[in-house]
């Protein structure tokens, strides 16, 4: 569960069609963003519904850094007003989303950052961004050795030396 703190109404204006939200990152940076932009996040949408139920505006504390949060906001701003199948599967007949070339450029970051972005997108429930990150990571894995895959995914080897040298012992059964 996110931590929610009360904020002064003067800090976050709540009137009009483009209301603002205050997002607080783990490094305690306050970022004001239009609610429309973040509506792609199901997590944020649910928080906003909660505000409306209680008639109180709050800041939303998020467990990742402002650097990552700004990347997510950049993504959401780029696709503001766009229909993306992953985020709204009920709005259109099933089919494949268009290939988004912009995403490839946007996600051309080091693998550490990529993992942080996908975790943030997962937390915020932005399925389209999760999908794009997952595709980018899967592309990184393509054609790599087991050791390189470990590095990319940040996973430790928990096989015993015997298991590691005996492929048939892995996951048989």
């Amino acid at each position: 569960m996110p931590t929610i703190v009360s904020v002064d109404d003067s800090t976050v204006p709540g009137e009009g069609s483009s209301r603002l939200l205050l997002l607080v990152s783990s490094d305690n940076k306050h970022i004001v963003v239009e609610e429309d932009i973040m509506s792609r996040s199901r997590f944020i949408s649910k928080q906003v519904e909660g505000f409306e139920a209680t008639s109180q505006r709050h800041a939303i504390l998020l467990p990742f850094s402002s650097f990552v949060l700004n990347k997510v906001i950049e993504y959401c701003s780029h696709y503001r007003g766009y229909y993306l199948l992953e985020d709204d599967p009920d709005a259109a007949p099933p089919g494949r989303s268009p290939v988004r070339e912009w995403d490839q450029e946007f996600l051309d970051v080091d693998r550490n950052m990529l993992l942080r972005i996908i975790k943030a997108a997962h937390y915020l429930e932005i399925k389209s961004l999760v999908g794009s990150c997952a595709r980018a990571i899967a592309d990184m894995i393509r054609g790599k050795t087991t050791e390189e895959m470990r590095e990319i995914l940040g996973v430790e080897n928990d096989f015993t030396p015997e298991e590691e040298h005996s492929p048939s012992s892995k996951c048989t059964g």
Binding site: G154, F159, C171
Partner: protein
């Protein structure tokens, strides 16, 4: 380095190509557990009893079948030995297991490709149908009992033998909604049937061709021998890739009009061993020129002609050239080549050149799916 939660690892592994799953299994126990069932995305089995039983068992396994995207069931290589024929006699187990496996297809939530290379039937000992025929009967029987599988996009039925089993009224239901269809038909036992081959083509193949009319993007229709099949009434509004083999271009088949009717969408055309009727006023030169002018979206054309040298080719020079014309008699055909077919060759050159020019200039039409591949 951030650690990813299980759901994200599963999502990523879903997108890793099948060939990379083996090294991925060596990363850690968790990745091994995630990657192992996904390694069964593509199942390739042959029509041996052992392989068919394995297919059946795999599709029964819940952890595996949720990842199966493609099932390919093919003929084992080579002709059956006498021992195998003896084994096959009365061995209906292959059919039983294949029937059971195919009945499980609706329980595969992401299945998009099914390819059945239905082996050519052969007579078993004592005149019984052999194992391969049992497999073909079982496959058709199973498919006819299934309704449309919503995720299925590509279906291949190779070596269909023109037999009453294909007249099952429910079989076409299975083809509804497909985007890629490949049918190849053989007439394995000439003389066995009283009805000529082209009548059986009409009876058994045409209902299948009509079933997927609204959705089909790629159609491959191959016959073993020169065939008259009425294509005149068939229309596919989204057809982009068409491949015909041994289809005779004449008034009876309406093949030329059929191709031209798909001019707005047709991007690639492959004609293998197709012929016109002997002494028909409409030869290949005229047909190619009509295609050059009429098929405005065509980017690729491939023509392979029937070149079959015969015993007297040393004496008869024309026998060394491809047969582009044919005489049909009660379903049987005799190929011919004329004295001068230079104009046909030049017509094909003009068609190829017009496609090349269109392809190099870009053009407006962008195919929605690649040819002959599903996803």
């Amino acid at each position: 380095m951030p650690r990813l939660p299980l759901e994200l690892l599963m999502h990523i592994v879903d997108l890793v190509p099948t060939e990379d799953l083996l090294p991925l299994r060596g990363v850690s126990w968790l990745l091994c557990a995630i990657a192992t069932p996904r390694a069964f995305r593509v199942l390739r089995h042959t029509n041996t009893l052992r392989s068919t039983i394995a297919l059946s068992h795999l599709l029964e396994t819940t952890d595996i079948r949720q990842y199966v995207q493609e099932v390919h069931y093919t003929n084992r290589p080579g002709l059956p030995s006498i021992d195998e024929l003896e084994q096959d006699r009365g061995n209906s187990e292959v059919g039983t297991h294949l029937f059971h496996a195919l009945q499980l297809l609706p329980q595969l939530p992401v299945l998009h490709t099914l390819s059945l290379n239905l082996a050519q039937p052969y007579n078993g000992l004592n005149g019984q149908l052999g194992c391969c025929s049992i497999g073909q009967l079982a496959a058709v029987d199973a498919l006819a009992q299934l309704d449309t599988i919503p995720t299925l996009r590509s279906l291949t039925l190779d070596n269909i033998f023109l037999h009453d089993i294909y007249s099952h009224p429910r079989l076409p239901n299975f083809l509804c909604g497909l985007t890629h269809l490949r049918l190849s038909a053989i007439d394995p036992l000439p003389g066995l049937y009283s009805t000529p081959v082209f009548e059986r083509v009409g009876l058994y193949i045409q209902p299948l061709l009509r079933a997927a009319a609204d959705t089909l993007v790629s159609l491959t229709l191959h016959f073993q021998d020169d065939t008259l099949i009425d294509l005149a009434m068939l229309r596919y509004p989204h057809l982009e890739h068409l491949s015909l083999q041994n289809v005779v271009f004449c008034a009876e088949t309406g093949a030329e009009a059929f191709v031209l009717a798909h001019a707005p969408t047709l991007v690639s055309l492959s004609l293998t061993k197709c012929k016109t009727l002997y002494r028909s006023p409409r030869g290949w030169a005229q047909i190619y020129d009509t295609f050059s002018e009429g098929l405005g979206s065509l980017r690729e054309v491939a023509v392979e002609e029937d070149w079959a040298p015969c015993a007297w080719s040393e004496l008869y020079p024309l026998a060394k050239r491809p047969a582009r014309r044919v005489v049909m008699y009660a379903g049987a055909s005799v190929g011919y080549c004329s004295e001068d077919e230079g104009e046909d060759v030049r017509g094909l050159d003009r068609l190829t050149e017009s496609c090349r020019a269109r392809a190099s200039s870009g053009g407006l039409h962008t195919p929605t799916v690649p040819a002959w591949t599903a996803f």
